[in-house]
């Protein structure tokens, strides 16, 4: 993937832009080399780029003022939360203002009667739950980076997590936002609105449509009971069969995770969670709810797992064992990270039935590329996370790892799935968009982008392989006055 070259005209105006930003946010401008190095990328660590300047507003009025300045000067804006994006969504541009929202970190309202929390964008995901758990509530989306990642970033990426099969993605738990538009105007979007669902399209828009300055999040009563099962299988199709039958039986587990044998070996070496090493795959299944429902579901899932041929099935008997079972799943990253200096975490979604075929074909690819990998899989919703390990210092390995990853994602699309289930397109999967979308599909999405951001200043270089000028995307006919149906009444 090639980073876009910086616009020399903008670079030549840097001093003026920095000075004007200091006027808007006196205590929140980072412009020195060492300071900018701290913001030079996100969790897609293979790419680094210092921003033109970084600004850290404390209020939405300051965000508006920064966006107005960006519009006036034609300088791109890259919004940033905690910088935990795995797809390079917050990767800075050398000719762009990096708009860090982490200082806007206040919870503004907690309302149990209406079931919401209103938060500024820099509040971390986990602190929403922390703020309400004393009253028995929680915020459902739980991306693995939840201790660090911010709500603004969650909205931009439409973040998921292991519980989204049952409780939905961010978009399903987002009741409203206040959005700063290009030029700085503020607009409120709510699920209660009766107009076009602009809120729905802002969620997951990866910072291309506007900047979230406030979010209203749905909180839910915490399920009182969670029980965890481990089921180990000697064949991947048997594990797949087990998953399909759980779903077909009408059981919606809170989480259902699959780890393949390579991943089992890696985490057993790393932290010994007690997964059977002779298994081709294990399922870790969380069932939550009230005691009676969970008891019923545990019994049914156990029957299904046994019938599907699980050679080991056990339930965590206490909270400590439950934590241990999950420790293995949660250690997949560091466990693989021990085996090589660098790692790519891929994120395709496939129809669940395709799992055995996809795993087999990935094993063949791994041989061909000469790179190790393992698989963790949100089995309930078909979201696959192959972890590819490599060494960026070895000649050509980064390129090989990227090509291996790209081939996996092309396979996901070929079997009826998608390029990304929860990490976003960013820069990482940008050039793969045409494998999933036709030219007409992409053009329609870009027209929507133009409706929000005609000058193309929000996060350029992300999501779309080529972002055409907005006049080429369908507005031209209107603007030039050559209407094809001049006599139509247009109310």
């Amino acid at each position: 993937m090639q980073l876009a070259p910086s616009d020399p005209d903008i670079l030549s105006r840097r001093a003026d832009i920095v000075a004007r930003l200091r006027g808007l946010v006196p205590d929140g401008v980072v412009a020195d080399e060492a300071g900018l190095a701290a913001f030079d990328g996100d969790a897609l660590t293979a790419y680094r780029q210092a921003a033109l300047v970084c600004v850290l507003p404390k209020t939405k009025e300051q965000v508006s003022a920064v966006l107005a300045l960006a519009s006036e000067t034609g300088v791109p804006i890259v919004p940033r939360g905690a910088g935990t994006s795995l797809s390079g969504g917050a990767l800075p541009r050398g000719d762009g203002i990096l708009l860090s929202l982490t200082r806007m970190n206040r919870i503004l309202d907690i309302d149990y009667e209406n079931g919401w929390v209103i938060a500024e964008p820099g509040v971390t995901n986990l602190s929403i739950t922390r703020a309400v758990e004393g009253r028995g509530f929680y915020y459902a989306p739980d991306p693995s980076s939840q201790i660090a990642c911010t709500i603004g970033g969650n909205v931009a990426e439409n973040s998921g997590g292991i519980h989204c099969l049952k409780y939905g993605l961010t978009t399903n738990n987002l009741l409203g936002v206040e959005l700063a538009l290009a030029g700085g105007a503020l607009v409120r979007l709510s699920q209660l609105d009766g107009g076009l669902d602009l809120l729905g399209v802002v969620a997951g828009s990866e910072g291309l449509l506007g900047v979230v300055v406030e979010a209203t999040l749905r909180i839910l009563p915490k399920p009182p009971v969670t029980r965890t099962l481990l089921a180990a299988f000697r064949s991947v199709p048997a594990a797949g069969q087990c998953v399909a039958q759980i779903i077909a039986a009408g059981i919606v587990p809170a989480a259902m995770e699959f780890l393949d044998k390579r991943c089992i070996a890696a985490v057993e070496d790393y932290c010994a969670p007690g997964y059977p090493r002779d298994a081709e795959g294990v399922l870790i299944i969380d069932l939550d709810g009230i005691e009676a429902d969970v008891r019923d579901a545990v019994a049914r899932v156990s029957d299904i797992a046994n019938a599907a041929g699980a050679h080991q099935l056990r339930e965590a008997t206490d909270e400590r064992e439950r934590a241990r079972l999950w420790a293995g799943r949660k250690a997949a990253f560091p466990a693989m990270g021990r085996l090589a200096p660098d790692m790519l975490c891929m994120d395709g979604t496939i129809p669940r039935r395709a799992l055995p075929e996809v795993l087999a074909r990935m094993a063949a690819m791994s041989e061909a590329y000469g790179l190790g990998f393992c698989n963790v899989f949100h089995a309930g919703d078909g979201n696959l996370h192959p972890l590819i390990i490599f060494d960026v210092m070895k000649e050509g390995e980064l390129a090989r790892a990227e090509e291996f990853g790209a081939e996996i994602l092309r396979l996901c699309v070929a079997v009826g799935g998608v390029l990304t289930g929860e990490h976003g397109v960013g820069v990482e999967k940008r050039d793969l968009m045409p494998t999933m979308f036709s030219e007409a599909d992409l053009a329609q999405q870009q027209r929507l982008k133009c409706a929000f951001d005609g000058a193309g200043l929000f996060n350029p270089g992300k999501v779309f392989p080529t972002l055409s000028a907005c006049v080429e995307r369908g507005h031209m006919h209107v603007k030039s006055g050559r209407l094809p149906f001049p006599n139509l009444p247009r109310f």
């Binding site: 209660l192 076009l196 969620a203 009408g250 929860e422 007409a440 599909d441 992409l442 999501v463 139509l488």
Partner: protein
């Protein structure tokens, strides 16, 4: 009138357009929104189930497929449409069970179970459509979890056809509740009843129906589950309702279906409003409106109100809510905007989005607002 039976027909119709279109499925919701104009683009024949994979919980259908037909196919596998699509046909004088899935999506409908499972917008995973340039395109995908590109599916839900005709829809489906039970708390005021419903909503019982009917002074609560768990949950529910007598009522599902479908208004001449409102504000708002016939669903989050020639947009907005005039005579719909006027910055955005899909204003022109 142009009848379409496949996507190519729709493309051809749009490319050859001589005048704007009114997009019609079964036509059961023609009375919803501003009075439709334009030549009929009839999608009723663009129907049928394209694929249904129960193990994947995914359904792909053409927009003209009737909702009851879909529900029957899903029921064979003990699955259902999670957003509980109500049948609004009778409310508009049409026969029951005629509505299409395309219409349900375009109007972003949802029934009482929306409080647990969300509205249509939470269930549409992907779609195919034709834009105002006569180009067929797709948005979203055919898997439950997908963040690839903009989530255009959300925009299609509740767009009332103004962004263009849908030609294929992919929906997630849900397991059907094995059993459900409905408890009624009688002789309870709106204030006390709504407080009870909110208390249940704040418990982990995951109620799938929480309604209040002032005429009968009754709050009704639906709980789902397998036989034994359900019995235990009903005990927990009664504990939660401490101090209030609660009776199990038969036919509770049918009752919630009626409420979702606006059945109490069918035989009246009232204008019918649906008001989405923060649930803790519901009683205050209902008192202010003082409608001649009303009830609340979703623990107060949805108020149904029957009035005559009164504009409810302002009172709804004052309480943080949003009103839509669901049904009224043509004359009333010309006088009172069915959709609340948007503030200028929002309205500009809405028009820009409309133009991004339909630059020549070919689709359902003016159905929501002037120019949209």
């Amino acid at each position: 009138m142009i009848k379409c039976t496949n996507e190519a027909d729709v493309v051809e119709a749009v490319r050859g357009a001589r005048e704007p279109f009114e997009i019609v499925g079964a036509g059961t919701k023609r009375g919803f929104g501003r009075v439709p104009r334009g030549a009929t683009l009839d999608l009723a024949g663009l129907s049928g189930i394209v694929s249904y994979e129960p193990d994947e919980m995914i359904l792909t259908v053409r927009p003209g497929t009737k909702v009851p037909e879909i529900e029957a196919v899903l029921a064979e596998k003990n699955q259902c449409l999670g957003f509980d699509p109500p049948d609004w046909g009778p409310l508009f004088g049409a026969p029951a069970n005629q509505g299409t899935i395309g219409g349900a999506i375009a109007a972003n409908v949802a029934g009482s179970a929306a409080i647990r499972y969300g509205r249509a917008r939470d269930h549409l995973l992907g779609f195919r459509a034709v834009n105002g340039l006569g180009e067929a395109y797709k948005g979203g995908g055919k898997v439950v979890k997908n963040v690839t590109g903009f989530d255009l599916s959300k925009l299609m839900c509740g767009s009332f056809g103004t962004l263009g005709p849908l030609t294929e829809l992919t929906l997630r489906v849900f397991p059907e509740a094995p059993l459900s039970a409905v408890l009624a708390v009688t002789e309870v005021t709106a204030e006390a009843g709504l407080a009870l419903l909110r208390r249940v909503r704040s418990s982990p019982l995951e109620a799938t129906g929480l309604a209040y009917m002032p005429g009968e002074a009754v709050a009704i609560i639906r709980i789902d589950g397998a036989r034994e768990p359900l019995a235990e949950k009903l005990v927990m529910l009664r504990d939660l309702l401490s101090g209030h007598e609660a009776y199990e009522v038969g036919g509770g599902d049918a009752l919630f279906r009626e409420l979702g479908g606006g059945a109490p208004f069918v035989d009246t001449a009232l204008d019918v409003w649906r008001i989405a409102v923060p649930r803790a504000k519901a009683v205050e708002l209902a008192n202010e409106i003082a409608a001649s016939l009303w009830y609340m669903d979703r623990a107060g989050g949805m108020i149904w109100a029957g009035t005559k020639d009164i504009d409810l947009h302002e009172p709804a907005a004052k309480h943080g809510g949003h009103a839509i005039l669901l049904r009224a005579r043509d004359g009333t719909r010309a006088r009172i905007a069915p959709f609340a006027p948007e503030p200028p910055s929002r309205a500009a955005l809405t028009r820009a989005v409309k133009a991004a899909f339909d630059p020549h204003c070919l689709f359902n022109p003016g159905r929501m607002w002037d120019g949209v």
